[in-house]
Subunit: 237 residues, 2 copies
């Protein structure tokens, strides 16, 4: 099966959680909108609600034969067993997706550190609210959410959420740590000692051969100030 | 199977999407935290990360035998086939969950109309930001998101997202319309003519015998100002 991933070509964004799984799973895939020529048009035509019977609400979405799956957590749930990135038992698949949905909630909150009022406004037009949001986010939400995943790893015995076998959830947690380091280097440096298991997980994922090769490749889009994780110095405490 | 639902007993909140499915599905269930006595303690003990191997991050969660499932969309995905509230084909189950996850995103945005900065602060301490968030929300997000579901219903032929057979997604869309009417009566009155299919769906769900009986019962907690949908007059334009 050749998978087609559709996502904005300029950013890691929510598509990156899917890209990491496709890479670690050794999938045969095309990152459609990043192809030369009319790749971006190929993406937007699937979102044409006049023509598509079950249009995705937004990218990322994955085309697998005739099937189109949107929502990054759901794409990972779909790919998980096919790429051997989740155990096959129903209880384990549900647990993985439950964790992934909590990561999804966290990703939205990270995005809102720079856009707390509206995505239709520039960051510069909501900067005071962004500063206040970010302060509360680091005071309450980061300790609670990353603390939760730290506890999950304590129960699993590590290094991964299912123990010794990697899953798509671990790849996403790697991306969370990487992104927080990029966006909030000073805050993250102070915080990391509170989540040693999560940092260990990040290191284990980074050293996996396929992930290491991907991170060195041009397929990995660098972090930038259009995505979820943005390095705005005045938000970094 | 007797299901146990664990959710805050004072509010509809995110638990209500699950309650509606349990009711329409005729499930044998207990709303644990609403029982007299120590119901609430029974809930919080499952969130004790020192004791529970796979603790849910937050309510709502469902106990089905030994299995615990958290995240409202995932609970509905799990219950769907068991309560005949989703078609059995994998493509249909994925489509239903994809729609439900977009509803989840919408619910978070609705919550943020009154708490755009932090859930750790009172509404009164973030009122100017709430007013600005709400204005942008009704200008951009409501038309986009409810317009999306209107298009889904146009494609399905209605009255439901799968056509003539009701699904858990429809019950959740009913709750969205009811909640927006409660929280923003003036704004919603002006907006409703743009989404006639969604309003028709709301009416169809309200007339289903089990839902109608539930809405009349004491099991339906009234809307109030502690939940997701809050009637703050100054936010209603």
């Amino acid at each position: 099966m050749r998978y087609e991933l559709y996502y904005w070509p300029e950013i890691q964004g929510r598509g990156e959680f899917v890209r990491l799984a496709l890479e670690e799973g050794g999938a045969d895939y095309v990152d459609v909108a990043r192809r030369r020529g009319r790749g971006r048009d190929a993406m937007t035509q699937f979102m044409d609600r006049g023509r598509v019977k079950r249009p995705p609400y937004a990218p990322p979405f994955l085309k697998a034969g005739k099937l189109i799956v949107a929502q990054s957590a759901l794409i990972l749930h779909y790919l998980g067993p096919r790429l051997r990135l989740v155990p096959r038992r129903e209880a384990d698949r549900l647990w993985a997706l439950q964790l992934q949905l909590t990561i999804t909630d966290l990703v939205k909150e990270i995005h809102d550190t720079h856009h707390p009022i509206s995505t239709a406004l520039y960051y510069e037009d909501q900067r005071p609210a962004a500063k206040r949001y970010t302060r509360e986010f680091w005071r309450h939400r980061v300790p609670k959410l990353l603390g939760y995943f730290e506890d999950v790893l304590r129960h699993s015995g590590g290094p991964y959420v299912f123990g010794r076998k990697v899953s798509y959830v671990d790849l996403s947690l790697f991306q969370i740590v990487e992104g927080l380091r990029y966006a909030f280097p000073r805050r993250m440096k102070r915080f990391e000692k509170k989540v040693p298991r999560l940092i260990k997980l990040r290191d284990e994922v980074a050293e996996r051969p396929r992930i290491a090769a991907y991170l060195q490749s041009e397929r990995r889009i660098p972090f930038n100030e259009w995505g979820i994780f943005r390095a705005y110095r005045e938000l970094d405490g």
